[in-house]
Symmetry: C2
Subunit: 519 residues, 2 copies
């Protein structure tokens, strides 16, 4: 068995059976080996950023790592932005980067580059396998490192000659099974309980694995028992929400909003979330969002936050039930299509068990209230701020859960970063409905330009750099050009009709929803 | 004046007056400052890889650096592949990466990442400007480092607060003017002269600045005088060719071809080219292409190679004239469109003074003979092997030389990496005609799969990962969706008609040329 076959077999034995791939010459033995290991599914993407974003989306839903196959340093470079998002999401992604043969590197051939430096910037674990006899060991170690806890992005660098050499063995399935998340420390538990039980104004900010049902229920019980305000981090990796689950507000992206939400708090208890800071610095404004007189208590990091909240609920909310959202949808709107009416259409029609991949940016401001009473669903957010995550993450989510409808809510400017993901939606016949919020602008940057204090000085050249209207982008043409059926909506009725059609038919669809900018 | 204004003003003073931009919040003051410095042209791209590839193409034609404005680590990551190509091309690219405000970095906000590590992997010079009073000095130093010689990719990291602080000054235009390229060493000159004058079989391999008219003429004279075989590196940064210029063969990409070309040589003289190695390692084949009994003589590196060849010609070919190509085009073919007939159409119609950006990959195998007798033109090649360079490089070349027609010869799979460049072609009304060689496959990888020795084991899953036919990609739809007029050609006559139309009309065009794979 050659190195590539041993690698894939070891991955499959360890539960990794999907590989998003953009291979090149140095990965040809890996590609050939896919036929030797039928359990591994290879999914072709047309750009590495699609592959890495898909692996992130897959991991968020499947709760196990997908593999990504990339070609040398430039291929890894193309995938870095969505690996950055995966790193911030705390998802398990196993990146395999093919490299030149070990003896070829000294020639500094055209594609030679510093793979290790690039990998180190986004990975919690990096290993270069130099010998055929180490392939299985390193592959098993990579899976274990990716799973954690904490889950993380790991990178295994595989030289071409290690891939093609014979004589590799296969690592057995890992035993014992991977450890559970870490347990909360007693002192952290006591401090959080004291803070929340003090009667002083308090906020419980959740994130990490606490944005799933168990953590949400525990947190909602604590909030109900103590009066603490319950908030979720701004961009959760995976938020379970909708009818039958506790409702949780999200900390605002805008500093003014977040400051308002945290205002007056004397205690901030963190369960899976990090202490809140502004996304960017703004002249003359503090970056730390914690009020000056507020004490921060870290109950638990992202892994184990849910279990820690259950322990805390035992202390603080023994007989309290979590208040749950009731099924309550907006009425279908009519008339002009706006960010608000689009959100209402989505809230009215969101199907049961949907996975919502949200990169709607400014156009999504009305989505939260419009969907909080919809049937139960998952909400995936842009965790790292690197745009171009939505279409790829939807790809991975749909492959992780083929029985569930995926709704990709996608801003136009961000969509163009990884637009070729649509081809993979068609290729794999994925059950993804993409709604492009097409406001023909980098609207978020218009807002940011004002916030950093240069609005008064905004001249025509600056305005032009934030504008996507010359020429307008025809997303119906782009989607159909890549095999995805598409429709345009310029009224609320058209969006509703197109969404109904898309959700009723299997396979991918795209709706180009023309909306005015909200900012 | 704030830091951003001082930066742009300093760049303009130093001759940098085009900036390809994908800005984000941390670059908003840079964006605003564009209106304060009217001499700087801002060109919006929809993806950082387009911006960096455009800067490479610009620099190859304008022979001075363009600036690129990128947003934090993920933005730089998205631009890395084409910066890699620029590094291998030896072009001057000035990358400005906005970063969080200096005091904000400690918060590890979502977009925080290791910009320095990423920049270091592709840049010959990296500087982080931490103080407002250093902006002008660092900007001037960045331009000087980018210009060299040798020209290179440089990265200036500009924190948001340095950008928005007031009190910056402007660096004066650099005096004295930038130094010329280094001079050839007398010993290198003597050794090369002795080798080429020895009467033994010799090859003169040129690259760097020797692929321009002066260097080509000197090299051709030397070849004519000594009988040495004249070859050019496989992927030149900018090769001047066509009627009235010396003809030069290019070293083959395939090791078998290169080995044949170099076979029997006792001396290999390098003028601007590196000692030839295979692009990839192949099992059981040597990576070093120099024959075992051949001695290598390095006359000169990429900068100064042209002048060194002129010195050498003075010694070896005093009264010899360079043989020049005569105007000689293929006849317009008829019938089936193939890679060969497409090349003949292009050779028959290539306009005077065209800039050809070549990322045609396997489909381009017939282009070299079909165009060598066309009117004089420039040929830009994929120097670093990182695909997705063609459409972006064409963007930059067209902005550098708006009076010249740009012909972008683009393989389908590679086109999808940076397809959004078409929007910038339309936005800036660039005089670019893109021909997509649409063979619906990663054909190069089919070839490579055989070459690495796994052809016999190639199963359906491996084949599927190299196939782009399910679904087929409609490049006419993609182009028109981004505002570029487009046509499809399935016969040689249709390609000729579409190419004539595209070349006759100003502004961008795309032709989706459906060709069978050549491998």
């Amino acid at each position: 068995m050659n190195g590539a076959q041993a690698l894939i077999r070891t991955l499959v034995n360890a539960g990794v059976n999907v590989c998003f791939a953009n291979p090149g010459t140095s990965e040809m033995h890996f590609v050939a080996a896919l036929d030797a290991v039928p359990e591994m599914r290879g999914v072709l993407t047309l750009f590495e950023g699609v592959a890495t974003g898909a692996a992130d989306g897959f991991s968020r839903i499947a709760e196990r790592p997908a593999a990504v196959l990339l070609h040398l340093g430039p291929g890894l470079g193309n995938g870095l932005a969505n690996l950055h998002n995966a790193r911030r999401a705390g998802t398990a992604v196993l990146t395999v980067v093919g490299d030149h043969a070990t003896y070829h590197k000294r020639f500094d051939a055209p594609l030679e580059s510093d793979i290790d430096a690039l990998a180190g910037a986004v990975s919690g674990w990096v290993q270069r396998t130099e010998r055929i006899q180490d392939v299985a060991r390193d592959a098993a170690a990579a899976v274990a490192a990716a799973i954690g806890p904490p889950a993380e992005v790991v990178t295994l660098i595989l030289p071409a000659d290690v891939s093609w050499q014979l004589g590799a063995s296969v690592a057995p399935a890992p035993t014992p099974p991977t450890p559970g998340p870490p347990l909360v420390r007693d002192e952290a538990l006591s401090a959080a309980a004291a803070a929340l039980g003090s009667g002083e104004p308090a906020v419980l900010l959740i994130g990490g694995d606490a944005t799933r049902e168990r953590g949400l229920c525990a947190a909602a019980r604590i909030s109900a028992a103590t009066g603490a305000k319950l908030l979720c981090e701004t961009f959760p990796t995976r938020l379970e929400r909708g009818a039958g689950l506790p409702m949780v507000g999200r900390l605002g992206y805008l500093p003014e909003m977040a400051t308002y939400q945290l205002g007056g708090a004397k205690h901030l208890v963190l369960a899976g979330a990090r202490s809140p800071v502004t996304f960017f610095a703004y002249p003359g404004q503090p970056g730390d969002l914690v009020p000056a007189t507020c004490r921060v208590h870290e109950l638990m990091g992202p892994a184990g936050a849910s279990a820690a909240l259950e322990r805390l609920a035992e202390l603080l909310a023994m007989d309290i039930k979590a208040p749950l959202a009731e099924l309550c949808r907006p009425r279908l709107p009519t008339g002009e299509l706006t960010a608000q009416s689009a959100a209402e259409v989505i809230g009215a029609l969101l199907p049961e068990a949907a996975i919502v991949v949200d990169e709607s940016n400014t156009s999504g401001v009305f989505l939260n209230p419009a969907t909080e009473g919809a049937p139960r669903h998952d909400w995936l957010a842009l965790t790292g701020g690197a745009i171009g995550y939505g279409l790829p993450a939807a790809t991975g989510a749909a492959i992780a859960a083929p029985e569930r409808p995926v709704l990709c809510l996608q801003a136009d400017g961000s969509a163009m970063y990884t637009i070729s993901a649509l081809w993979t939606h068609a290729r794999e016949n994925l059950n993804i409905t993409t709604v492009i919020f097409n406001n023909r602008a980098y609207a978020i940057l218009r807002l940011e330009l004002r916030k950093v204090g240069v609005d008064g000085a905004m001249g025509p050249k600056a305005k032009a750099l934030l504008d996507l209207s010359e020429p307008t982008i025809d997303f119906v043409a782009l989607a159909t050009g890549m095999g995805v059926p598409a429709a345009r909506a310029t009224t609320a009725e058209q969006l509703a009709e197109a969404l109904r059609t898309a959700l009723a038919e299997p396979g991918p669809h795209l709706i180009d929803a023309i909306v005015p900018p909200v900012v």
